[in-house]
């Protein structure tokens, strides 16, 4: 890209030398002036660090060929496809280290494609060269499910990587990113996924509407595990597991469109005042949040973005053609963004001129919007096979 690195390894040079007689035989006498110069051999692009705030990783589940998951990097400003990582079977999403020095990718492989011995690893990638720096073998228990952000999360200081397991026993694999070693598993029976709440803590969502809050020690082992009372009604209006976070508050939306903020207080997640994203009239018109990655936030603007559509209850994961924007401080909707295409997953960049990205698993188009005006900036076509979760630096 901006800083191409020339790679002229020994084998390229030796091949070039060996081929020279052949190549020369092809060439007529040297050209007159003003001709374009020859291009060097073996040039491999690299990416600058730190990454642009307007880049986005589009994770591809590749449902029709699940052993060949990918994460594809696109520049929202130019629409340019910057590169990709191959992320194995049933891949969920890449996780970016806060310092930008490494990309973590939980991956599953089989010794013979779709059969044979299963090996689960966390591959560490160099973010400039998009090549493996190493890998950490973890227990072959990683959950295979529709990709969610909370399948893999980092603790706030970037030290421990938390990976959700489902065999169907539920647990969290803890990886120490400093020593680059598997630490152990934290049991979360009856509770799923991880939502970090600090440098050494996270919660999981439980089947009865409780939150299981786990505190790690500095070695990555669980030092405390507290389960709240049920905080939401699983039977009558469950929360989607697609939570988003601003500062110390996690926001979840219920199937009917009620927003549930959970804030860490006295070392435990506490439910704050809930409030509806939909008016009574809108509910009566069957407006409903939906999608795979249906919520996004901008912390600086303190705004929540939610994909909305009209449909009955069982469409709670359907895509929408509108994104509604809320001021989290005022608890009020401030904007509706009309989406060009079906929107199933959205993400907002973190900078002060934020972009809104949108994809849908049943399409291969990445749409890029101005997150403040809601104007469509561009559509980038041919992005993978079944794009799922969007991750921004």
């Amino acid at each position: 890209m901006k800083s191409p690195r020339r790679v002229l390894s020994a084998w390229v040079l030796s091949a070039a030398v060996a081929c020279a007689p052949l190549a020369l035989a092809l060439l007529a006498p040297a050209a007159v002036q003003a001709a374009l110069p020859p291009d060097p051999a073996g040039t491999i692009q690299t990416l600058p660090r730190p990454p642009s705030a307007h880049w986005v990783w589009v994770n591809d589940f590749a449902f029709s060929h699940m052993v060949n998951g990918k994460a594809m990097l696109v520049d929202g400003d130019s629409g340019r496809f910057l590169g990709e990582l191959d992320t194995g079977f049933g891949s969920m999403r890449v996780v970016l280290a806060p310092d930008g020095q490494v990309i973590y990718s939980p991956e599953t492989y089989f010794s013979r494609g779709t059969r044979g011995e299963r090996t689960d690893v966390v591959t560490l990638y160099d973010p400039s060269h998009l090549s493996p720096l190493g890998e950490i073998v973890i227990p072959p228990k990683r959950s295979s499910n529709m990709p969610m952000m909370s399948n893999a999360q980092l603790t706030d200081d970037g030290r421990f990587l938390l990976i959700y397991n489902f065999t169907p026993a539920q647990s969290i694999t803890v990886v120490d990113t400093r020593s680059r070693k598997f630490v152990g598993e934290v049991e979360t029976s009856g509770c799923a996924l991880s939502f970090p709440t600090g440098a050494r803590s996270f919660f999981s969502l439980c089947a009865d509407g409780a939150l299981l809050h786990t505190v790690l020690d500095d070695t990555g082992h669980a030092s405390r595990s507290d389960r709240t009372e049920p905080l939401f009604d699983v039977d009558h209006d469950p929360l989607t597991e697609k939570g988003v976070r601003v500062g110390d508050t996690w926001y979840f939306v219920s199937f009917s469109g009620v927003l549930y903020p959970f804030k860490l207080e006295q070392g435990s997640p506490k439910l704050q005042q809930t409030w509806p994203l939909l008016s009574a009239a809108e509910k009566a018109q069957n407006w409903r949040p939906g999608g795979l990655q249906q919520l996004a936030v901008h912390a600086g603007l303190n705004r929540l973005y939610a994909i909305m559509h009209q449909g009955p209850l069982e469409t709670h994961k359907d895509p929408g053609h509108e994104v509604w924007v809320y001021d989290l401080a005022r608890k009020a909707r401030i904007q509706k963004i009309a989406m060009k295409n079906n929107s199933g997953s959205i993400q907002v960049t973190r900078d002060s001129h934020p972009l809104l990205f949108s994809v849908f698993i049943d399409s291969t188009v990445l749409d890029v919007y101005d997150a403040t005006t809601g104007n469509l900036i561009r559509s980038v076509t041919d992005i993978g096979t079944t794009p799922t979760v969007l991750v921004t630096p």
Partner: protein, 171 residues
């Protein structure tokens, strides 16, 4: 059998109330996707207009087949298996998710178990998704967002297709 403990924990209560199991790629919602990964845009629930639905209600390779009322995945009947058997070379998942479907031919309601067939790449034919009463991942045994081939240590997790077995008459 440690996982069997977790099976009963936190899900038995609601499992007893809800019998829908939607399979795996529930985020596709009501979308029917053509095989070979060429997706179609969202269409009517169940895929066909009402007239066509009636026509296919007894066709095990149709999404409108009466047993498929709570299925999500590639229909094994299009993949070398049938509505109640797996294609050659696959394994049937040990865990089943149960729905209750009405059979218009005999007027009875049946408890239907949606066992996945596992151990080969996705079949790619007759993707069918009929969604009701799906729950998020934290209520696993009603969530269609899991690859349920994970449900047994002895089963290789690659998902191939889904069956719809009759377990019993519902009432």
């Amino acid at each position: 059998m440690k996982w069997l403990d977790s099976l009963t924990e936190g899900s038995a209560r609601s499992l007893a109330k809800r019998t829908s199991r939607r399979g795996f790629i529930g985020t596709l919602g009501t979308i029917l996707v053509g095989a070979s990964g060429l997706p179609l845009l969202p269409v009517a629930r169940g895929g066909d207009a009402a007239d066509d639905k009636a026509k296919h209600v007894n066709d095990p390779t149709s999404c409108d087949y009466w047993r498929h009322c709570a299925i999500d995945g590639y229909l094994c009947g299009c993949c070398g298996g049938s509505e109640n058997s797996c294609p050659p070379g696959t394994q049937m998942s040990a865990i089943t998710w149960v729905g209750t479907c009405h059979n218009p031919i005999d007027g009875k309601d049946y408890v239907v178990s949606y066992n996945d067939c596992c151990g080969k790449a996705t079949c790619g034919r007759c993707l069918c998704n009929r969604n009701e009463r799906d729950t998020p991942l934290y209520v696993p045994f009603q969530s269609n967002d899991y690859n349920w081939c994970s449900g047994s240590a002895k089963t290789n997790i690659p998902y191939h297709c889904s069956t719809a077995r009759i377990v019993a008459v519902a009432k």
